[in-house]
């Protein structure tokens, strides 16, 4: 990780994301392998390395005092000067929309409010590397966007961030690199664009004809796909727009254009939709499911 980099750790439930975060934050000793935290081998990393970390764990943690006191007390634990803590608490209360509930105890808040509180509390102290284990779980879209925008802003200021999530859209939006964990192994690492390209699998192709296809024409398209080893998985066929999935989408575009020309059918538009990170992720973990857990061959 370099300063300002945002790294997303993805994986199915039980893939090992939280365990990885716990190991990297020295909460758990590694059972095998080697890792470094600020240049120190994880087995020897301790207080000095943790001083430079921020950690928002998946499990909720709180003290039995008001939201506001929780923030200032946590800052006090980290040795943040009182005046700085006070102004930072105001900033966090506003940013995370916790102002109206500042005097309330955190356990009386809703799930989403408690999650916001967890993230806000961790941002009370200075750090160089921030671990966030599913920080946006239970948050509404607006709050999620607001938090992600804030994290992106902090990353631009040099804060390195590692975060786990099941919302792949936000990983795609925020991360410079992502790593996909499967059964405790890192199966793929790279920028989201690279992961999407490498594991794009079948993509949706949308072809719009001048009129709805007849049954015979549909069979002809099916035969065309079958000849290229594709199965005709038609997603929709409405008012002349045929949407289907194909692994070799680019080749099919030319093929389908030729076929339409030969069939004296006007092909108004044909497009291949970009692979989303979610589709690439599904392809990747499905490959692993087929190969079986722990299959070597991570790139």
């Amino acid at each position: 990780m370099r300063p300002g980099e945002v790294f997303g750790l993805l994986g199915r439930n039980g893939a090992g994301k939280t365990t990885t975060v716990r190991v990297l934050t020295t909460l758990l000793p590694p059972t095998e392998g080697r890792g470094y935290l600020f240049g120190t081998e994880l087995r020897h990393a301790g207080r000095e390395q943790r001083r430079r970390l921020g950690v928002v764990l998946q499990s909720e943690s709180l003290d039995f005092v008001s939201v506001e006191t929780n923030l200032t007390l946590y800052a006090f634990l980290w040795g943040v000067p009182r005046e700085v803590a006070k102004s930072r608490a105001e900033e966090m209360l506003e940013l995370f929309e916790l102002g109206p509930m500042r005097k309330r105890k955190p356990w009386g808040l809703s799930g989403g409010e408690r999650r916001r509180f967890q993230v806000a509390r961790e941002l009370m102290h200075d750090m160089e590397l921030l671990f966030l284990d599913e920080p946006t779980v239970g948050l509404d879209a607006l709050t999620r966007r607001r938090i992600l925008d804030y994290l992106a802003m902090r990353a631009r200021g040099g804060l390195a961030i590692v975060f786990t999530t099941h919302i792949l859209q936000e990983a795609d939006q925020l991360c410079d690199r992502i790593g996909v964990l499967q059964a405790g192994r890192l199966r793929a690492v790279g920028p989201p664009s690279e992961i999407k390209r490498r594991y794009r699998g079948a993509r949706a192709v949308e072809a719009e004809f001048e009129r709805p296809l007849s049954e015979a024409e549909r069979r002809a398209v099916g035969a065309l796909l079958a000849a290229r080893g594709e199965s005709l998985a038609i997603l929709s066929d409405a008012r002349g727009v045929l949407t289907f999935r194909a692994a070799n989408a680019e080749d099919l575009v030319a093929e389908l254009s030729r076929w339409a020309h030969g069939a004296d059918l006007d092909l108004v538009r044909i497009s291949v939709r970009e692979t989303t990170l979610e589709e690439a992720f599904v392809t990747l973990v499905s490959e692993d499911a087929t190969e079986g857990p722990g299959t070597p061959g991570a790139p």
Partner: protein, 251 residues
């Protein structure tokens, strides 16, 4: 570490808890002193039951402090603050030491309140610096001993129900089967007598009582040594419990 101690006080002590924890023993001195003194006409060196009871109640403050440390630790586990603190710039040893120091400070504050409540009741005569030192030292050793024990237990248990049941049982067992409320006499059954003398609180209560009556003797030295030995053992158990502490949610 001092920041952790301050945090323990701020985060876990609401006014009602403070009132109950400090008020209950003071309340008991007044109630038990008044009610039991009618049943127990003569006990101890002075013959007054209240004069006998007060030093015992003062000694039992070490249990109150230990219970608080155990409670803080358990709640920190239950609400994942242990993990949160361990992921920060603290050592596990510092967290453990902060818990024990919290127990000790809490016990000493309790002792101060007890003494203030008891003064008008029994009219304590001034203690010599040595007597004061031994009494406070005994309270400190007792806090470490029982605090260490409860933390060691709390680190091994993953159920709040079980932990608080054990804690209550232990608390009442230790206080009632000791010389806090009544002395061991020739009429005490042998088995019960053996249990009372196996209870470290008995030695602490006897030492504190002898301190207040200016009658330290060799038995107090033995008692303090036993207490120190047990404090070292329970501290070791707490350290072991911390070293193998399982993180993650507890019920």
């Amino acid at each position: 570490m001092l920041r952790l101690v301050a945090r323990n006080f701020v985060a876990t002590l609401d006014p009602i808890t403070l009132l109950v924890m400090f008020g209950q023993p003071a309340f008991l001195i007044v109630i038990l002193g008044t009610m039991f003194s009618q049943l127990i006409p003569s006990v101890g060196a002075s013959g007054s039951y209240v004069a006998y009871l007060v030093p015992g109640m003062i000694a039992s403050q070490m249990i109150t402090g230990a219970v608080l440390a155990g409670r803080i630790f358990w709640l920190d586990r239950r609400w994942a603050m242990v993990e949160q603190i361990f992921s920060g710039p603290f050592l596990r040893a510092e967290y453990l030491a902060a818990l024990l120091l919290t127990a000790l400070l809490f016990s000493l504050v309790g002792v101060g309140i007890m003494v203030l409540v008891a003064l008008p009741l029994i009219g304590l005569t001034p203690l010599s610096p040595f007597e004061g030192f031994v009494i406070l030292g005994t309270i400190a050793l007792g806090s470490l001993c029982f605090g260490g024990l409860l933390i060691a237990i709390g680190g091994r248990i993953r159920s709040a129900n079980l932990y608080f049941t054990i804690q209550s049982l232990l608390q009442y067992f230790l206080i009632f089967i000791s010389t806090v409320y009544y002395p061991v006499t020739a009429k005490t059954p042998v088995v019960l007598r053996a249990i009372v003398y196996a209870n470290p609180l008995t030695y602490a209560a006897n030492t504190v009582r002898d301190g207040f009556t200016h009658s330290f003797g060799p038995s107090d030295l033995i008692g303090a040594s036993i207490l120190a030995g047990l404090a070292a053992i329970t501290f070791g158990l707490a350290v072991l419990s911390f070293r193998s502490l399982e993180m993650g949610p507890v019920q």
